[in-house]
Amino acid sequence: MSSVEPVPGTAASAVPAVPAASAGPTLPATPTGDVIHDIGFRHYDGHRFGRGWVVRSLLVETVRGVFGLGRPAKSKVMPWVLIGILLIPPLVIAIVILLTGSDELSISYTQYPGSMELVISLFVAGAAPYCVSRDLRHGVMPLYLSRPMRRSDYVLAKFAGLAISMFAVLALAETLLLVGALLMKLPVGAQIVGWAGGILTVAILALILSGIALVIAAFTLRRGLGVAAIITGLLVVSGVVQILIAIAKDKGYPTAASYLPALNPYSLVDGLAVRLLGVDPSNGTAYPAGPLGLLVYGSLAVATVGACLAILIRRYHKVGGV
């Protein structure tokens, strides 16, 4: 073929300012005048976004995916149903206050996540596999990692995405609680302080839950199994810890009983809130009194998040994941 046919679509992507001379290498013309023009790949010399932008886009995409935005309608149902369920109690509580005329919330800002343990666990159990299992299952990790993005970037982006989503949902619930309280003319100052404590609590909770859920999801490639494994893990741990606490109390080991709640993310966070902010514990759990208790709980929280991230980065060590 000695003529160059216009390839549809390249006109749109061509950089107009580039002179023809630099439109790619052409083979030297043969004596009879035959020549092959390079009209395929056009070299792009323009501005490229860097690593930070890549990570940011991945993060945004993760957050959107958790809430089902940009996905077919079916995948929007689960997250939003759970969010709806999560937001019902604040409404109910507001109504209760209206009806009973009390001057404080029936459940405090820091107690609220503990009471909705199950729903929150279900939400993160459904969201985490979506974040990581699909990429691993279909072997697209090499695609991701051939971009200007490191393994750790990918892990952090996914983690941050999930944590931010969790935080957003929980913070929304806390804020609804606040709004309800303010509408019911409860004392503003106390409510705002309580709300701030609640926000701090759910932030830590979001971090810990996201870490644990992502680790489990990264090792279970099938989405259904991932969801089941995460929820099983969270529920079983919660149940087991409860039983162990009861046993410890019965056998007269109150100190052990006060440290055991640290094994359950929800009570870990609750314990931190109780010691740091001086709020009431949820479910009447007893937490260790002195600074040692605070140290143990605090470092356990940090260590959990750190360990989860480390495991995740290790998991993606082999490109291709599976």
Partner: protein, 242 residues
């Protein structure tokens, strides 16, 4: 009812990663039972507390969910069920065979460990063991059938199954009295209440539903689930992409 299907299902159920959970969870339960015994010295009340909430309320539904989705859910999900369906075997038979394997597995991996846990944790004679054994067996039959049916009907079976078993039965059941009438666990507990006779209220093993109503509801749910599953399997659309 078809031994070949049953054997394939069994190898599928036990040969995958989820089989780890089938061993791990019962073991965990037995360990807890041992600790409970050490703590309470074999006091039946503690056994009731352990079993009614953790074993029956959390562990049993979870195990049945894992088993129920394991016998048919994964195959539908990745399309390998086409090899079973492209055979001159009635779909009803295929479903029955898988269900029987699921029932068997839930009995071995969930019900028996629960009975063992009850005995380890402390019993009065064998009353609790029998009562909880029957309860767990009835509940397992119903749960497994429901989760198998859900696996055939929807791809979101795990979330829906969990929402039901945990949110509906446990949480709402705690707040809204009416919910307890529509709960497999409550229906099964009616059997325990009946078998324990006068000891039931002492230990707090109660159910809102009468025994006859409970048995009818359990049967209706189980049969309904099976019928739904067979009908859906008969018209299961399987396109190979495109």
């Amino acid at each position: 009812m078809n031994p070949v299907v049953m054997r394939l299902t069994m190898s599928g159920l036990l040969g995958r990663r989820r089989a780890i959970l089938f061993v791990l969870l019962p073991l965990l339960l037995l360990l807890l039972a041992g600790l409970v015994r050490w703590a309470s010295g074999g006091e039946p009340q503690s056994t009731v507390d352990l079993t009614s909430h953790f074993a029956l309320g959390t562990l049993l539904p979870l195990m049945c969910l894992l088993i129920g989705t394991g016998v048919i859910g994964t195959e539908i999900d990745d399309g390998s069920i086409v090899h079973l369906l492209a055979k001159p075997v009635p779909r009803r038979t295929i479903l029955w065979s898988k269900l029987i394997v699921a029932w068997g597995a839930s009995l071995v991996f969930a019900v028996l460990p629960i009975i063992a846990a009850v005995e380890i944790a402390g019993d009065e004679g064998t009353r609790l063991g029998w009562a909880y054994g029957v309860t767990a067996a009835l509940a397992a039959l119903a749960y497994t059938a429901v989760f198998v049916a859900l696996s055939v009907v929807t791809r979101n079976v795990v979330i829906i199954g969990l929402l039901y078993a945990l949110l509906w039965e446990t949480v709402l059941g705690g707040y809204v009295p009416g919910v307890r009438n529509v709960s497999i666990r409550q229906w099964a507990l009616a059997a325990a209440e009946n078998m324990l006779g006068d000891r039931a209220p002492v230990w707090g093993v109660t159910s809102d539903v009468s025994l006859s109503a409970a048995l009818v509801l359990l049967a209706a749910t189980t049969i309904g689930a099976i019928v739904l599953a067979v009908r859906r399997l008969q018209t299961l659309p399987l396109t190979t992409r495109d």
